[in-house]
């Protein structure tokens, strides 16, 4: 401590930051692997540092975070917003029918408003915001089901424009945010302008933000988190002043940090891909703390404070935010709905419409019970007067999810001795204990649960046998009806007394049923029977069951001889935390299960090259096809490649002793940190997709694309940093012209605009760009305003004489109306054409 120079020691007690401890003139060289210097995104050299006191007090200086906008720049921001709102909002109401995944997300808003429980793989925030917009615009819900792409909104008075307004607005905010982010990264105003205009005219971002989809909120919150984080890092680098108004642990510092945490919470509450943003910020935080740790002049308590502040704001706040979103979610969805089937019985019990009356606690010989499978949500042990088509041809046993009289079984002794009175009315009844052997008799068909050495109906393995219902009047049953109760100690609920481990109690006791003669266990799994079994779940007798799939419990229990005041039980209502955790698990499983192929899904490797887009909507000779602005897109990919290539070269050169990254080249270090940061963001938002086997789409690339576009602006800044300002400006203008032209060229696909087939064919720059040109008219004259508003029936009248290659189909369609209508849209999920018949 004593060896610390006086200058630093003074700071040691006054300041918390790390920068203040590092000597600027330190002759340490800059290693390409681990920087011993604190990671600063801001230390752009050669910037005349104006003392804070002398700076004019503007809004931006009060905000801090390293954003120092010039006077004119506020006007630039306003201009950008204005321009952006034209680009994002233009003809937002077109098309007036359901587009692509509006099927889902519109539908969810509908269910929120009806407060009917549903299950979705995405967290609720973005959907809640969309719902809010719909609710504010007076949407009552229920009248419109968002079922098919192409279904018209207008007849049902759905406030779809208001709902689309939310993603569009967030998409608009992305533009000034980009500008501010780039400025906070200390790039030149022209660069920031270029980057934000790239974002403005990126067709993919435009298309994605114009419809009721979740990606626009995700991208916005990703950008917002990044921005706040940069602001926080900048603030963290500022030396703390006497009054503690700036620098570490100042109020401003806390505000930036907490805002980062909130934005991270928001992004992960929109989609789980927000975890990538958290990972990005997490990596950078670790780097920051690591360099702080390496600074031996920072005492441990201060280090601990730094660590704790970040842990609270970047871990606890996002988690709380995320959980509070689910609290809102549960509060709204309090009625039963189509998502019930995903959840456990206890969970379902918390939803209105799923209530159950209290039922007797003790299961007695002769009780009438319903038996529920514990692990799958298949439902109740069920039988009905239909037989298996194969095997023993005896009556079917299935699992059936709904309440029904066919679920009721009488639980009986193995002996039906005529001397003993009827067990169903005998008083006092005898309880059923562990290891008792019982017979289950199906009440409505008077057959008994039965198993034998015949293979199961669907599962063809030699350790699973068929289970059937067997018996007839006057037949007392045989030993194949005998099942032994084996109470499972680990899953049985003993909160209200340990006796549920010894005697069978409704809801509390979990048990297995072992078939005495063959030693197999009553078992069910997520395998559906075919049509003959009404797609109910298969029940078998498994000699080697996985533990959880062999467990059953009794849900309802009645007995004629039990007094009405006997002990009763009901489901325990899970608390918020239990519900939250259960829903997370179900979301995770469902998400992992989304492995079917989709006509427009794609693998991550195809995204940076914009290999193929997504067909969103086709109708009335117009279409919406998600495709990026190829110029911007490819430029961003090139920038990433250029950075990685140059960085690799620099590392190799370093190893051979060249000092490119020395302090004599501060420019290089500035750009290296800037680009390194953006490439890290790109990488962490892109690479994890390679590890996912679920269905993926082009729009999953957008958060990564955002970073790549920022990078391309920075690379532009680097490349032109050696040029004269005037030539720079000219280059910026040229780049912008190309960007806007490309945007204009592809804009009909984003706005469902008018296009001719020839234009469309010309626009197919990539060989996998499969927008269906056949659906556009031959010439523009066929797309006059009259036609646009008319229904498809009018189209026939405007059909040209049959000269085109298309005429063949046209003639056929006139001759045979069925054929015309049956024409299947090979290119989309669009069912609109058959819909309107």
């Amino acid at each position: 401590m004593d060896s610390v120079p006086l200058r630093s020691r003074n700071k040691l007690h006054g300041h918390g930051g790390s920068q203040s401890y590092v000597d600027k003139d330190d002759d340490k060289s800059y290693s390409p692997f681990a920087s011993s210097r604190p990671t600063s995104l801001t230390n752009r050299p050669a910037k005349p540092a104006t003392p804070a006191s002398k700076q004019p007090k503007t809004f931006w200086t009060r905000v801090g975070g390293g954003i120092e906008l010039g006077r004119g720049e506020t006007r630039v921001l306003a201009g950008l917003t204005l321009l952006g709102s034209v680009v994002r909002f233009w003809k937002l109401g077109r098309p007036g029918s359901v587009v692509f995944d509006e099927v889902h997300f519109g539908g969810f808003a509908n269910k929120y408003i009806q407060s009917r429980f549903f299950m979705d793989v995405h967290p609720p925030l973005a959907k809640l915001l969309i719902t809010l917009m719909a609710w504010v615009s007076g949407f009552q819900g229920g009248s419109f089901d968002f079922k098919d792409i192409g279904r018209e909104y207008a007849p049902e008075h759905v406030p779809y424009i208001a709902m689309r307004m939310l993603p569009a607005t967030l998409g608009l905010f992305l533009i000034p945010l980009t500008y501010l982010t780039l400025r906070a990264l200390q790039t030149r105003p022209t660069t920031a302008l270029l980057g934000s205009l790239f974002i403005t005219f990126e067709n993919g971002l435009i298309t994605q933000s114009r419809f009721i989809l979740l990606d626009s909120p995700v991208i916005f919150f990703t950008a917002l988190s990044t921005f706040f984080w940069i602001g926080f890092s900048n603030e963290n680098e500022v030396a703390r002043d006497r009054a503690g108004r700036v620098g570490p642990f100042s109020r401003r510092w806390w505000v930036w940090l907490i805002l980062t945490g909130l934005a991270l919470g928001a992004v992960v509450s929109c989609k789980w891909t927000g975890l990538f943003t958290i990972a990005t910020v997490g990596v950078l935080t670790i780097v920051q703390l690591w360099s702080l740790l390496g600074d031996l002049r920072v005492p441990m308590p201060l280090l601990a404070r730094h660590f704790a502040a970040r842990a609270i704001c970047l871990i606890a706040i996002p988690v709380l935010f995320y959980m509070s979103m689910f609290a809102i979610h549960f509060a709204i969805l309090n009625n039963s709905g189509e998502g019930d089937g995903f959840m456990s019985s206890e969970f379902q019990h918390t939803l209105a419409g799923h209530g159950m009356e209290d039922t007797f606690a003790d299961v007695m010989v002769g009780s009438h019970i319903t038996l529920r499978h514990l692990n799958t949500q298949g439902g109740y042990l069920h039988s009905h007067p239909h037989t298996y088509p194969g095997g023993s041809k005896q009556q079917q046993i299935t699992l059936y999810p709904h309440r029904d009289d066919n679920n009721i079984w009488a639980i009986l002794n193995t002996t039906s001795n005529p001397d003993i009175p009827n067990p169903e009315t005998h008083s006092p009844p005898t309880p059923i204990l562990d290891r008792h052997t019982v017979v289950l008799s199906h009440v409505s068909t008077n057959k008994k649960l039965h198993s034998h050495d015949i293979r199961a109906p669907i599962t063809e393995v030699d350790y699973q046998n068929e289970v059937s219902a067997y018996g007839f009047d006057g037949f007392e049953g045989d030993a194949n009806d005998h099942f032994q109760i084996e109470i499972d100690e680990t899953t049985t609920d003993v909160k209200s007394g340990k006796e549920s481990r010894h005697r069978v109690q409704t809801l509390r006791t979990k048990f297995r049923l072992r078939h005495i003669l063959t030693g197999c266990y009553l078992f069910s799994h997520k395998v559906k029977l075919p049509d003959w079994g009404f797609e109910q779940q298969e029940v078998t007798c498994n000699k080697n069951p996985s533990k959880e799939n062999g467990l059953w419990f009794i849900e309802t229990n009645t007995h004629a001889a039990l007094p009405a005041d006997a002990k009763k039980v009901n489901y325990r209502r899970p608390g918020f935390l239990a519900k939250f955790l259960e829903l997370q698990a179900v979301m995770w499983q469902t998400n992992a299960g989304l492995t079917d192929r989709h006509a427009y899904d794609s693998r991550p490797h195809s995204w940076p090259t914009l290999r193929r887009g997504i067909n969103f909507w086709v109708k009335d000779h117009r279409q919406i096809y998600l495709i990026g602005n190829p110029f911007v897109w490819w430029l961003s990919t090139l920038s990433v490649l250029a950075y990685i290539g140059i960085r690799g070269l620099l590392i190799l050169r370093y190893q051979r002793g060249y000092k490119d990254l020395n302090h004599c080249e501060p420019q290089v270090i500035f750009y290296d940190r800037l680009c390194g940061f953006l490439v890290l963001g790109w990488f962490l938002h892109y690479f994890p997709f390679f590890l996912m086997s679920r269905q993926l789409f082009l729009h999953h690339y957008f958060p990564a694309l955002y970073f790549a576009i920022l990078l391309s602006a920075c690379v532009f800044d680097l490349v032109t940093s050696f040029l004269k300002p005037r030539i720079r400006l000219q280059l910026v203008a040229l780049t912008l012209v190309v960007t806007v032209w490309t945007y204009w060229y592809f804009s009909p696909l984003a706005y469902a605009g008018v296009w001719t087939r020839a234009q469309c064919e010309r626009a197919k720059w990539g060989k996998n760009w499969d927008f269906s040109c056949a659906d556009f008219h031959e010439t523009v004259s066929w797309c006059s305003g009259r036609l646009i508003d008319s229904g498809a029936d009018d189209v026939a009248r405007f059909r040209p004489p049959s000269t085109s290659p298309r005429s063949h189909r046209a003639r056929m369609s006139r001759r045979s109306p069925i054929r015309r209508r049956a024409k299947s849209p090979l290119w989309s999920r669009d069912a609109s054409l058959s819909e309107r018949t």
């Binding site: 060289s29 011993s36 006509a599 051979r656 056929m812 069912a831």
Partner: protein, 788 residues
Amino acid sequence: MSSATQQDRLLHRKPPPNTPSPAPPFSALPLSARHQDSRLDKRDDDFATAQASSKSTSLLDKGFEDDVKDNPRIEWLFAGLIFLLAAAFRFWRIDHPAGVVFDEVHFGKFASYYIRREFFFDVHPPLAKLLLAFAGWVIGYDGHYEFENIGESYVDNKVPYIGLRVLPAILGSLVPPVVYGIMRESGYPRIVGVLSAALVLIDNAHVTQTRLILLDAPLVLFMSIAFYSYIRFHKLRYSEFTKPWWTWMILTGVFLSLTISCKMVGLFAFCTVGTAVVIDLWNLLDIKRGLTIEHVAKHFAARAFGLIFVPAVVYLFWFWVHFTVLNRSGTGDEFMSPAFQQTLLDSPLTLNAEEIRYYDTIVLQHRGTKAFLHSHVDRYPLKYDDGRISSAGQQVTAYKFNDTNNHWIVEPTKEIPETGRGRVVRQHDIITLRHVMTNTTLLTHDVACPTLATNTEFTTWDGVNEEQEQDTRFKIEIDDAHEGQQWMTKSSHFQLVHVGTRVAMWTHQDPLLPDWAFKQQEVNGNKNLKDKSTFWVVDEIIKDPNVTDRARPPPKEPKKVKSMNFFRKFFELQIAMLQHNAGLTDSHPYASGPINWPFLLAGISFWTGAGELRQQVYMVGNPVSWWLCVVALSVFVGVIGADQLAQRRGMTPIPKATRNRLYNSGGFFMLAWLYHYLPFFSMSRQLFLHHYLPAHLCSALVAGAVFHFIASETINYPISVAGPTTRRRPRQVAEVGKGMVVAVAVIVVALLAGYLFLAPLTYGFPGLDPEQVNRRRILSTWTLHYAK
């Protein structure tokens, strides 16, 4: 050498002149004396300072040479003893399950096929199976047995199975001595070598897996020898480009290649050594090392030769042997292209392929589902359940059974001559197919098929008019055929591509059509022409008994077997293997996820004997060994983490020499473990406990390193062979205290106890009563039989 220490050194030195390459030769560099020292430090990178502990100095140069220099006799004695013990563990009752055990079903069968020389298909490269087949051939097994089901008796089927099991048992017995060798060569004292070897030797999983007809014994052995060779090679780094240097490097390459020739997971061994080599080259590239760029390039080229080229040749060699041995048609034909199949003796393709001529009546069979193209008088319903509408045309389906409704006549769309070769149908000819029974013509059109909105409907049309005529045209696209090649029965795999819409005729089994089409398979037009399941084959030509004078030559003599370029065969098989491997995603009752393995949460039931004997073989590791290894791994991670944090705060809790040994040697073992374990998490195929065996071996090495680190303050040093320019350094010998010996002895006793306790599950002998079984169920997740 971590970057932090590199930087420390950098601080004290003037930067070398910033001249472009080539860097000046070493002697020309203006180096200070301090610099020169540090250069030597750098070259001795894992043991930079010898004066690690004051105690060690007293031991220097006091005749401890033999322990450091590996007195060969004692080492061989130890290795031999370990081998004998390992062999005893494996050979005890090697005859015992006298029936087929678990995957012997596959690998025994493959050995039979090799001996019978019948072509088969498997996802694993051939070496290990060739070895098994070789063992069978040596003992005179004729390959008659098919190894159909687990539990079938070898005695009844007269299979010399003991001879087959001897080979894996011997190879498996060689593994513990190699582990011992690895530890000794890495500079650990004998007692630590014994510990690591014991962790592998006294382990039920290794013993179970390597005394049966399975592939893991050669895999694990070759992997460990590859590591051993690499360590030997690395120790020779001061004698670069000498004969032993080359020898050990090429041996490394060869054994790596043998590993990957057994199973694809050998790739992980490649990655391990590859990473170590890259780090090594990176250090050579360092300017402070003073090597010219040419010199570095020479190093690079040498390694590329020894560790890439040589292994590639060895790998290819085994495939060459594979193709040479398997020259008869067999069960694997179906997986390969027709061109490949024609290289096999007795292939159905070479036997009775016939040319197809126009107006022949043919039966088309779908390759994937083996169903025939079929049509019948029933029509598609006008409206489907989901509201879509069909053409209501005649149904075209695929049907599994032979039926006259499967007969179609090939008709031309061009003028053809009355007789002669002009009537032969050829590649890229455009044909129409007429259904014989209903006299209608096959067509497809822009109408969605019943089950998939993305595929077109196939139907037939009666009374063809001009427009439908266009829809009936199909192009023959034969796989892998040149222009003008004849369309043959059996041997031509072809797509029937619709001329108008460019869809290929396709059929699938999921879902089947509903009752209105009698649950037959749907036939539709698939837009994806690259889909391999769109291939059809003409099963036969229906001869009209009334017509005899057709200008058809009599069926030819069986054709000669064709030859095919080895590389084309190789790549075809390689791609098929990879595809098939990725497709193994069915669930299996004993499959388990990687997270279960180190903790031994799940085993595999290999075999159960007759009910009354209550015998079973359950493949599970020795918990003492496995859990010790897990502890060692976590200690290693903890120590490294704590050391990094401490260094960052300017503290050096570990002496430099010890620290370097821990990072370099322990780090290499840890790297090997990570590479042999983590990639399984990203695999979606079926995984089993035995996939962890190589990783378990690596973790045993880590355990040795960690044990040494904890138990002893000193290390054996230096262990690398001194080169001509190396500065002589005082020797240092690791202290082996009594405590260390006692600790190892205790661990070995515990290992033995655990091993013997589970031995009845390993050897399937003796039978256990339920109470004994339950006692052996150490974790409730082990699914043992006869527990009740």
